[in-house]
């Protein structure tokens, strides 16, 4: 385990970030889109923790940042899911293709 370098971890986190972006742009289900956003936030978490551990082990900025990101992501998901439930009540669907009241 000791010979994993920061490069590998950064590769994972960057890949996760772009998987999240791809998921957000291609998925049509609102819950799945929310999950894609969580992937993006988790890639950031990995980044912060690994930078903190490998490069600046004497300070804890990155780890604290991660904890706050997790907490805020929970708050964001709570509001988003409340909105999705409300949309489901009005539209009987959570497919973004059905939310098309407003277009160009």
């Amino acid at each position: 385990m000791n010979n994993i370098g920061i490069e590998q971890i950064l590769f994972i986190s960057t890949a996760l970030f772009f998987i999240g972006v791809y998921g957000l742009f291609t998925r049509r289900n609102m819950i799945t889109m929310l999950m894609a956003v969580e992937l993006i936030l988790n890639s950031v978490n990995i980044n912060f923790v690994s930078f903190n551990k490998y490069l600046y082990p004497e300070r804890l900025d990155g780890v604290f940042f991660t904890i706050f990101i997790i907490a805020i992501a929970a708050a964001e998901a709570a509001v988003a899911i409340a909105i999705i439930i409300n949309i489901y009540r009005n539209h009987q669907s959570i497919d973004v293709e059905d939310s098309e009241e407003m277009k160009y």
Binding site: L24, L41, N47, F48, L55, F65, H91, S99
Partner: protein, 467 residues
């Protein structure tokens, strides 16, 4: 607790106290509703605004995470003023609403987030307060629970804002990896043009451009503005945008001063794109709220030109423009919200013959649109003039010429509304509307601000003295 705790954090503390008073009013046994509740809240918001004028504290708190000086106090006062005007305008809408108190609690939470964001001296604080400012706004966009488009707007807003903060965060994490600190002071010294930092910078820029609704990232704006209740739309387009502009300036001028050459090129491109796209799309809109959404995108382009000046003039001109923009945009939204609340009509063709039935309101809307277009003697002209002056200091004349051409294009669509109101006949015009006391008061404040901030030069000089 340091001695200056209360004076430095005055705005945040006052807003928090008001939020809790409103919460207690909601929870109290004797339920206050309707006009009396709104009277109490608007009184509190007036106090909030007035108390803000006495603040000129200079100092930092929480280990240099939070900072305040007279300029920051002035920016917060601008936001307070905007909130008061919006609150007065939304009186007729909230009077019969079941959740008036909740509306204000969420609104104030978001305002507190913006206060912290303006004062932040640390990327960590910037992120936390940005989320505190945007998550409540998504809930507010959904405030007309039964309307389909309201929920749709909220969904679009929360997904795009979550995505943009994800992008912003990734940028912050890369900058943290390159420099090892989140403090503005340390980052600004350590900043250099190496690839990792530039990648981080581009992501941070993109995150903020999303929130500003600058051009390639503007797609959410029109839908959210159209679907959300008018009070929330005006809050989003004026106060939220103003706060983001202030913090964006701080970040570009302080954090990334060392890589000015890089960010100037990006800013140039985005400013041109934003103006052109905002103007072109505004031309073909029929719904007035959508129309104002695209016009506000175009205005952001002008603000970006001023920011590109990279000087204290650029900062002064941007703050001055935001002040004027609050007056002009809120005057326009005030009339539209009145018409939309009382009659439900929102499209431009409904406004044909508006002058015949409501001459005063038609004049207010005309003044507001003239100010947005930048026609003297309204304040909008001076705002745009100073922005272009600041932008021209970089000797980038193509940018200034494009901006001037865009101002001419924008005249076309602003005057289209004026033409519909004054010159076109309509068999079924909007009937004579009864303006209540508080919307009228809000419109008077806006019109006075529109005319006075331009004609009396004190505002610009005051801002430039505290920059």
């Amino acid at each position: 607790m340091p001695d200056n705790f209360f004076s430095v954090m005055q705005f945040e503390l006052v807003a928090t106290v008001i939020m809790f008073i409103v919460l207690l009013l909601r929870l109290g046994k004797k339920r206050i509703t309707g006009d009396s509740l709104l009277l109490v809240i608007n009184g509190l918001l007036t106090i909030n605004l007035l108390v803000g004028f006495f603040c000129n504290a200079h100092g930092s708190l929480f280990g240099d995470m939070f900072f305040s000086n007279p300029l920051i106090c002035f920016q917060k006062s601008i936001l307070n003023l905007g909130l008061l005007i919006i609150s007065l305008q939304s009186w007729p809408w909230l009077k019969n609403h079941h959740h008036t108190a909740e509306f204000y609690i969420i609104l104030l939470a978001s305002l507190i987030g913006m206060f912290f964001m303006i004062s932040a001296q640390n990327m960590f604080m910037v992120y936390l307060s940005l989320e505190l400012a945007t998550i409540p706004l998504a809930a507010l966009a959904n405030f007309d629970l039964q309307l389909r488009r309201s929920g749709e707007a909220a969904m679009k807003y929360i997904i795009s804002s979550a995505f943009s903060s994800g992008v912003l965060l990734f940028g912050i994490s890369l900058v943290y990896g390159a420099i090892g600190s989140l403090n503005f002071e340390v980052i600004s010294i350590g900043m250099s043009a190496n690839p990792l930092m530039i990648f981080g910078f581009v992501l941070i820029f993109a995150g903020f451009a999303f929130k500003l609704s600058a051009a390639p990232f503007h797609l959410w704006t029109a839908d959210v503005y159209e679907g959300a209740p008018v009070a929330v739309t005006s809050y989003l387009s004026v106060i939220s945008k103003g706060a983001i502009v202030f913090v964006f300036i701080t970040i570009l001028y302080r954090l990334f001063q060392n890589i000015f050459d890089t960010w100037y090129q990006i800013l140039f491109l985005i400013a041109v794109l934003t103006m052109v796209i905002g103007n072109l799309f505004a031309m073909r809109q029929q719904n007035l709220k959508r129309f104002l959404a695209f016009s506000s995108i175009a205005q952001v382009g002008f603000i970006l030109i001023g920011i590109g000046g990279n000087s204290s003039e650029g900062l002064t001109a941007s703050v001055y423009f935001v002040l004027i923009y609050i007056f002009s945009n809120l005057a326009a939204f005030g009339v539209i919200s009145l018409v939309s609340t009382l009659t439900g009509k929102e499209s431009i063709s409904d406004y044909k013959g508006f002058y015949k039935t409501n001459p005063l309101l038609a004049w207010v809307l005309t003044l507001a649109l003239f100010s947005l277009a930048g026609i003297p003697p309204t304040a909008g002209f001076f705002g745009k003039f100073f922005l272009l002056m600041a932008g021209a200091a970089q000797d980038n004349y193509p940018l200034v010429i494009i901006a001037a051409l865009n101002m001419i294009v924008s005249l076309y669509y602003y005057l289209r509304v004026v033409k519909a109101m004054f010159m076109e006949e309509n068999a079924d015009p909007i009937q004579k509307l009864k303006t209540g006391v508080s919307p009228a008061l809000a419109l008077i404040i806006c019109v006075a601000g529109l005319l006075l901030t331009g004609l009396i030069g004190g505002a610009y000089e005051y801002i430039s003295s505290i920059v």
